[in-house]
Subunit: 161 residues, 2 copies
DNA sequence: GAAGAATTACTCGGATACTGCGTGTCCGAGTGTAACGGG
DNA sequence: CCCGTTACACTCGGACACGCAGTATCCGAGTAATTCTTC
């Protein structure tokens, strides 16, 4: 079990757009070249971010993608949900109701949710909360602290002109 | 991104062995029939639990699997790690170092860990901690509280004689 | 009747196919831009 | 010189292949129980 690489691609792309600063749209090819990614596949991920409301797409010549709102208003959870969907990590198929054991139990016992599902749900809730507590601005700030020049390098690589 | 169904199967199987109580080994076919699962595939998952030290296997006639230690000494995390492996949820491929952006940055900036990786790691740590804090005995207790008769039904379905 | 050896039946364990999702790629619809011609 | 029109180039967006991990299955190695023979 692991997240798709689309999450990593989306995170870095969003940060790059923020470092770029100006609200000008950037084409997928530019963003992909920035980290040596497949432009077509990155485009698919960015479309997911548009559907999730994190990006705006600008069609036509000199079009591309631009941030829909400041990084401070985006949580890491927003990115994960936009890319991976909101399906739960643990899928309960209610096997407790099946087989020689499940069929022997009275229906009354199944009124309460599955204890296994509840236990897994607690952990998943903790995961989601930790993701929701971190905004992309926090991540950007951490990166800037580690390497203060990264913003300038992004503008050099992706800047218009 | 979601966990395989092996986790759900393993959790319920471990609980059933605990409800059964006696240290007698139970064959895979019995355990599988308990929740209408594929015996062959369940066997593969149980082998993982043996490798993880949660179960003991008894070969030969009237053999099967038995708990390696009490449920109170097993965390939910132990089960997840035994089945899914200890690979991280988020895999950082260090794309920050590649492409027109990465190649432009000085190596000094890469001495610190990737900020995206750190953010994801925090959430994953919260997830693992929440899983580690819950023992299988806790899960069993919750199930018993919801349906106090489930233990008796398991013994009826899987009991020896 | 008891002990021991051969047989049998049953179980785990790993090696072998199949399926679905993540991954990767391609081409068409749509739009802004730029060139071009006319007033 | 300015404006409307036309053609163009560029971009997004979704539809189309590929590969790998999760899923599912089967058969062989190994062991305990059983049975039979012998003392």
């Amino acid at each position: 079990m692991r997240t798709g690489k689309g999450v990593e691609w989306a995170m870095h792309t969003l940060l790059n757009l923020a470092w770029l600063g100006d609200g000008e749209p950037v084409a997928t090819a530019q963003l992909a070249a920035g980290h040596d990614l497949s432009a077509s596949y990155l485009n698919k991920q960015l479309q997911q971010l548009v559907k999730g409301g994190l990006l705006e797409s600008v069609p036509g010549a000199r079009g591309g993608f631009r941030l829909a709102r400041p990084l401070a208003a985006m949580s890491v959870l927003d990115v994960v949900l936009a890319i991976e969907g909101d399906a739960p990590l643990f899928r309960c198929t209610e096997i407790r109701r099946c087989g020689t054991i499940g069929e022997r139990c009275p229906d009354a016992g199944f009124a309460q949710p599955c204890a296994v599902k509840v236990a897994m749900g607690r952990a998943e809730a903790a995961w989601r909360q930790a993701l929701a507590e971190q905004s992309l601005a926090d991540v950007q700030a951490a990166a800037d602290e580690h390497a203060p020049t990264v913003g300038a390098h992004v503008r050099q690589a992706l800047g218009h002109g």
